[in-house]
Amino acid sequence: MQRLARERQKLDFPFAFINIILLLLFFFIVTGSIIGKNETSVAPPLTSRLTTERLPRPLLVIDKAGALYLDEVPTSLADAIASMERVGGDTPAPTLTLNVIADRTFPAQRFLDIVEAIRQAGVPVRIVTLDARAKG
């Protein structure tokens, strides 16, 4: 009986260790999101008092030169709107929101014009920002 108890004690350490590592692994898999090269090349506007979240999808990237990428694929404004309309289907109020991330030095007027063109097509828009504490 005593021997059995000792053998069980021997097994405890590696299994507990693996459990903790697996929990950490699941945590990073669940909380992580894959970010594309173009999405990290822009420096988004900084905010400090908004709720943080993962990089949302679908994501329209506007780089410093004004080039557009919809989920990493180079696109034009018309094509991006058409893609969103296709996803939204015939529903009168599409629930899918397009998230727009622009370089913080991008001219505000051009940025607002792009955002408004998307909204005019009936697609709700959210501006993606970077939490200032995570700027590094």
């Binding site: 909380t31 900084l46 905010t47 943080t52 979240e53 505000a108 959210r126 995570a134």
Partner: protein
């Protein structure tokens, strides 16, 4: 066939290291944009524009790094306190004009402060010159 624990731990460690190095902890936020209208010279709904301006409690003009609130120029970093003061004074409707010199950061800073202070209506407009 025996259960090989050490190779399993090695693989799990490699996966864990990969995810730890390649991930950030949710550094992004999102901001909804209120209504927006573009003003181009004499066109673009002059009557409605005038009506909106007349009904606005606060008129803001955003340019590079600063905001003009009811005639007073402020650096953007001080705008949150001013927005709170305007809200405490009973302001509810805000019209924001965006100058060509303003950047995406400038307009986002203003919208974030307005969101924090929970104004009832925020309209964004671009103005030439």
């Amino acid at each position: 066939m025996t259960f090989m624990l050490i190779p399993l731990v090695d693989v799990i460690f490699l996966l864990l290291t990969f995810f730890m190095l390649s991930s950030n902890l949710a550094p992004y936020s999102a901001l909804m944009l209120g209504s927006y209208q573009r003003e181009t010279g004499a066109s673009a709904q002059p009557a409605k524009t005038g009506a909106d301006e007349a009904q606005a409690d606060v008129i803001l003009t955003v340019s590079a790094g600063e905001v003009r609130a009811n005639g007073i120029n402020l650096p953007l970093k001080d705008f949150l306190d001013e927005a709170k003061r305007l809200k405490d004074d009973g302001a509810e409707r805000v019209v924001v004009f965006v100058r060509p010199s303003a950047t995406a950061q400038d307009i986002v800073s203003v919208l974030e402060a307005l969101k924090r202070t929970a104004f009832a209506s925020v309209t964004v407009r671009t103005r030439q010159g």
